[in-house]
Symmetry: C2
Subunit: 356 residues, 2 copies
DNA sequence: ATGAAAGCGCTAACAT
DNA sequence: ATGTTAGCGCTTTCAT
């Protein structure tokens, strides 16, 4: 391959404007100590030649790489893509991440890392050495992986933890999990439900716990019971099936269920159908995620919308500003909302009658 | 900001192994003229220190950047994300692209470019200068934009054109559009349909034409008419609504429709419902895309599955091999398939009776 | 088969 | 306010 060189470099601009490289550099980076007239002249040359600095060269000189790495769980992400489950997490991440990066001249680059692997550190370290990103966005469950956060902290790389509130290095951001679960449960209580079940996510994710907390809090406020009404899944369809079955086939089953993922809610719909329960007449369901498919289920699912794009956008801004500003101590909580659709309705009148 | 340096560099490895930088470089790049024993010794140091070369430095020295840029239409992509329509094109692109890139030590980086903008060239040029990718994957409609292909050809950057068969620079790949439309239409003919409509995509996409061609060819084989049975949309829901209405409210309307996108098929379902037509009893529908939502529509849509991941994967391989191998002259056509679901059924008996 | 020297495009540090 | 120098980590010459 022919040795490919940059077509227009800082040298060309400097020559064209009749100034030193350094002055051009100062203009590019909007640094002080350049007279307006000079700045204008250099900018004119830049525009004329259509010059854009090479991020590789910028990085080499000890400056920024203008790259932000978004780390996702390899196994889960690939499975979602392969199965075409309609999870649009990555899309929403790119929506918030890429656009905000672009506003600041940065790029977002998606990287997949194994969670369970014993060589997480090697994988991550290799990615960091290869790319030299200026920051990293950690999504669950990586955001709570001490090996990962520790390594980033050691290397002094700014990073954001989505779905983590633990103190320590890195910006912590959450998507209103507790309040979302609280709101969803309250809504069901308003509809007259007295026994409201919860299909929780796996323990490995803190947000699973937060949602349980919100659910319990709402029940507590209303003096309603929670005992025996919480079953845990792993966010996947199969686990949701089992959890829903466990909840709905017990004595005095719930008339409403909050599921911690769309897939588990989908499974709940199936189980209900199988048990001869009509949704929402006999059973109300609210899910978390609000992925595109929930508008097309039968009935369409009332769902908690997670502000993924907004949250990643905030994370990126924090990372980019990290050089200047001090880290905010507090956890940043971006609010979600409940989108009401057809899977929720007033509690059935015959509450308390065993149906299974 | 502290001037952040690479933690482990080629120098460290060279020192550890007691050899010159050059020898280490040769080992990294698997070059000849290194004795096995030497190679082993160096590799041991690399493993011990957990060394991975910086792609910025590799690029700077005139070698590869190990970056492949995937170019998508900015406006459409962002709209799909914002509306959360369930289009998983980008996901499938990443599935095929990222994984294949990773196999070869490359990274895929997604970039959005305006199609209609008059400064496409400036935008693209800036991205190329900043990132210096070793190759570019062009998706429709960029793959048929002469400004873009011309610029890449001029710069000598290997690129792939997805959904383009035009001769000229760059690897051309298609996803079996003609055959897919042919198969879908043939399937409807097998089911006894005599009047089969087509809701085509916009002219700006060549693949719209290829699909029309396949549809027409199948009709021709069976001696069936096509006149007045083709309406064009822009792939979006609204346009599908109009097109479906035009087809279904005419005299002697079709009993089956092939829609060039899921969104337009969704609209067709709505129009059918509105007109009192039951799908698939009165009307069969086959769509293109097979996005996740089509499993949840009422009824679930029979759809043409586009091998996006596989196609992008092939494109990436071609680009990476471009340095060694000669460009294949022929268009590479990756086959799709029809996934049968609930929106197709035998033609209604009362064919020919006006219903609208 | 190995090593030494030069340079990629850019910026930090140090002049002036 | 501007210019000069040195060097980032690596690969390409060019020696040996």
């Amino acid at each position: 391959m022919a040795r490919r060189r940059q077509s227009v470099t800082i040298k060309h601009v400097a020559a064209d404007a009749g100034v030193s490289l350094q002055t051009v550099s100062r203009v590019i980076n909007d640094e002080p100590n350049v007279r307006p007239a000079m700045k204008e002249r250099v900018q004119a040359s830049i525009d004329k030649l259509g010059y854009t600095p090479s991020i590789a060269a910028q990085r080499m000189s000890g400056s920024r790489s203008y790259l932000i790495m978004a780390l996702n769980d390899r196994e889960r992400t690939i499975a979602d893509w392969r199965e075409r489950r309609g999870t649009d997490w990555v899309d929403q991440m790119l929506l918030g991440g890429m656009l905000t990066c672009a506003e600041h001249g940065y790029r977002m680059i998606v990287e997949l890392i194994d969670t369970h692997s014993d060589h997480v550190e090697r994988e991550l370290s290799a990615a960091l050495m290869a790319l030299q990103p200026d920051g990293v966005v950690l999504t669950p469950p990586h955001s709570e992986n001490a090996l990962i956060t520790g390594l980033l902290a050691d290397r002094g790389i700014p990073f954001a933890r989505i779905g983590s509130i633990a103190p320590g290095p890195g910006f912590a951001l959450t998507m209103g999990d507790t309040k979302n679960a609280l709101d969803a449960t309250r809504r069901l209580i308003e509809l007259g439900h007295k026994r409201i079940g919860m299909i929780a996510g796996p323990d490995a994710y803190s947000l699973s716990g937060w949602r349980i907390e919100g659910w319990r809090q709402a029940l507590g406020e209303a003096g309603l019971p929670h005992e025996g009404l919480c079953a845990a899944g792993d966010f996947g369809f199969e686990s949701g099936n089992e959890a829903a079955r466990a909840l709905l086939t017990q004595d005095d089953p719930p008339t409403a269920i909050v599921a911690s993922s769309d897939q588990m809610a989908l499974a709940t719909l199936d189980v209900a159908r199988e048990l001869g329960l009509s949704v929402p007449r006999d059973l109300s369901v609210i899910s978390f995620d609000n992925t595109p498919i929930v508008r097309f289920t039968d009935p369409p699912l009332t769902a908690v919308d997670q502000p993924i794009a907004e949250t990643i956008s905030r994370a990126v801004e924090l990372i980019i500003r990290a050089r200047r500003d001090a880290a905010p101590d507090a956890v940043i909580d971006v609010e979600g909302s409940v989108v009401e659709r057809g899977s929720t309705a007033p509690a059935p009148h015959l509450t308390g009658v065993k149906r299974a």
